[in-house]
Amino acid sequence: MADDRDRDSTEVAVAEFHKKIKEAFEVFDHESNNTVDVREVGTIIRSLGCCPSEGELHDLIAEVEEEEPTGYIRFEKFLPVMTEVLLERRYRPIPEDILLRAFEVLDPAKRGFLSKDELIKYMTEEGEPFSQEEMEEMLSAAIDPESNSIHYKDYITMMVIDEN
């Protein structure tokens, strides 16, 4: 009995996931032929609630790509893989407090801020480096022009409010 109910609720969840995935996919399906440019897949996956690293993203793309990569991802391949990802709750988003601690790691002196240069250094030389475009975009919103620094606690709060 309990098994049946579980199965039902999973089915319902799967059905709902399918609709969500389809919707997100269609936003980028410009030719209405159930394909999207591979370069947009990351956006689709992230907008569905996942937060993969670049490395994880590349692995995912490899799973959904054709054997001979065409530059396009087909929905038929994308759907089952993405459904699994959602069912397994993979690549969960990062909670605010963890994010704060990450910034604090980069600010061992506990000043409460990072200078613009420091931010640039970390974001473009460490981890999975930003492109110039990404860096510029982050700076435009994050840096306080008067102090030329990012007060990361405020920054996080602002971004999180914005999300909701």
């Binding site: 997100a24 980028f28 907008s47 994010l99 990404e134």
Partner: protein, 753 residues
Amino acid sequence: MGSGTSTQHHFAFQNAEKAFRAAALIQRWYRRYVARLEMRRRCTWSIFQSIEYAGQQDQVKLHNFFSYLVDHFTPSSHNERDFLNRIFTEERSPQASETQNCGDYDSIEVPDSYTGPRLSFPLLPDHATALVEAFRRKQRLHARYVLNLLHEARKHLVQLPNINQVSTCYSEEITVCGDLHGQLDDLIFIFYKNGLPSPERAYVFNGDFVDRGKDSVEILMVLFAFMLVYPKEFHLNRGNHEDHIVNLRYGFTKEVMHKYKIHGKKILKLLQDVFCWLPLATLVDEKVLILHGGVSDRTDLELLAKLDRHKIVSTMRYKTRKENKKQAEEKGNANQTGSAGRPSPWFLPQSRSLPSSPLRPSTHKAHRAGRSSSVPCGVPLDPKELSRRVRRSVDLELERCRQQAGFPAIKEKEEPSSSESEVDSDAEEQPQPTPEEWRQVVDILWSDPMAQEGCRANTVRGGGCYFGPNVTERLLQKYHLQFLIRSHECKPEGYEFCHSRKVLTIFSASNYYEVGSNRGAYVKLGPELTPHIMQFQANKATHTLTMRQRISRVEESALRALREKLFAHSSDILVEFKKHDKDETGLIALSDWAAAVESVLHLGLPWRMLRPQLVSSLTDNKLAYKSWLENLAKEKLSQQNIQSSLLETLYRNRSNLETIFRIIDSDHSGSISLDEFRHTWKLFSSHMNIDITDDCICDLARSIDFNKDGHIDINEFLEAFRLVEQSCSGGDVSDCPQVTNSSNRDCSSPGAH
């Protein structure tokens, strides 16, 4: 010893690793944030586009409404009959002599107090430049000069061929600009960035100069001025908005009447004529074809080059210019019977004779084989047939026309009767646009490219078609062209290539939907005719905003429009919700919410993606739908005494209502009588199956008649429900059209707008 350094190293290594991981975490988080912003941006764009195109479908709905009237409404009194006549019989198109009159500007005096630009003809380049400068300083051109300029413009346009041939050997470069839609800032920016027109700097403006934006008049003045000053280098193509019927709906008519209260009507009449004389396309070096909308699988450039473009007054209704003469005669004859002369429903097809077969069988075969009727209006009706009916009552007349508006199959049967009267038709002197000619023009002014192969009717716009890459390819090959430049569609980057770069869409109205919504662009054709795109965004504010702020702002605007749409369909949506809530819990699952909303609105939007922005609170992952709908209503209910369902209906039909009002207001005074208002409502509510009593409408009408003179100012009416768009003088209600007596009121002092 060793352990000290190795601990240090270990520590340092650990720190480095921690920093690496911390950075990676921040980057991961940030990339997700950006992705979500991007998704929001795309969804916002979909909202704007789907609402815009749904609005365009309104024209189709309007046509259906009138057809419905023909079917079901029997005027029960003389008043109603006359009223119907008013709706169905548009004021006749200007006669040649009348148009001459409109150009009669000499009698208009310009007062000494006028500080705006003064024009003398022939225009010199300095005048044109000075005009741009004057408009930049928010001055307004006096009606006399407007009429004078339009008159001169028409004289010039009349000499031009349908397809302008331009060569790059004379000017070093050609710049092509797309839709401007009354956004003067963009035009000024283009001239600033790219340089003013000159013998070395040719320009092509690809239609849609007017409507929507607030400076359509000024844009036209500048464009026509440069056209007169550099006739060989400055070229204009007609767009689907260079059309007086479209202008009724999309704001240009309103703008003219607002800026030129005394002479506005004259100006509009002259413009109607000028628009018909605009060339249909421009061909550069016989290799690059520039036209406003697109092409279809039937596009025939030879036919387009040969036809008399002046005959096509409006692509919205298939009516010709020379009818009025006959109409006037027959009106005289018919007066004795008391009928309203020869009512010719403006929205239904009618035409004079066609020397050759009016209803070519091949046309219909192609029609049925290829696609459904590409435009709401159909095929011509023989005039002799019509004249036989002159003495019939309005009802029968309309009944007849309704049949004409039917599908091709029906028309074929009528061929024999029409062809009988062909013999008489030869007596007609003036050639008229054939259905084929008309369709050709509609196709090039209204079509959009699509990714899929083939060619199908453009049901979204209600005119023209969607054409695929194979259609483009065939056309380019047939006429030995390199590529096509068109406009007509707003693009986020201001331009877009498609069909393997054989079609370029260029759109020059930046921030079209909202500040920050899109860039504008123009294209320069270099020596090998290679296109170089230049983008811009004519609003300083956007540059200081972060991507996040820009997207938020545009998104807000889109969501507002969407919420309004949701409100406008509250009743239907509630019905759908209840279907998903058989147990009457008052709650609905999100999945069902999305399905319900889409089934009512048909906007094809990603509702699940939009859900967080539209639905704020959930209980147990379910939505309490009644209160959600009530909240939507609360935003709109500015007047407590108005039924929410009435308000809903108004919102839902505002675009059509406004258009109908403006049609009724044939003298463009800006007001209609209470009676007319009531009649309109009665008709509308019967069509819409709305359960609103006549009394309620009467009360409403009376409450809006603020000065109790038995007339309703259209803008007052719309404003009463906050329906009027903020395009009228920056939203200043007091500036909305009032009847004035002073002749000096036709131009405002500098600064006032």
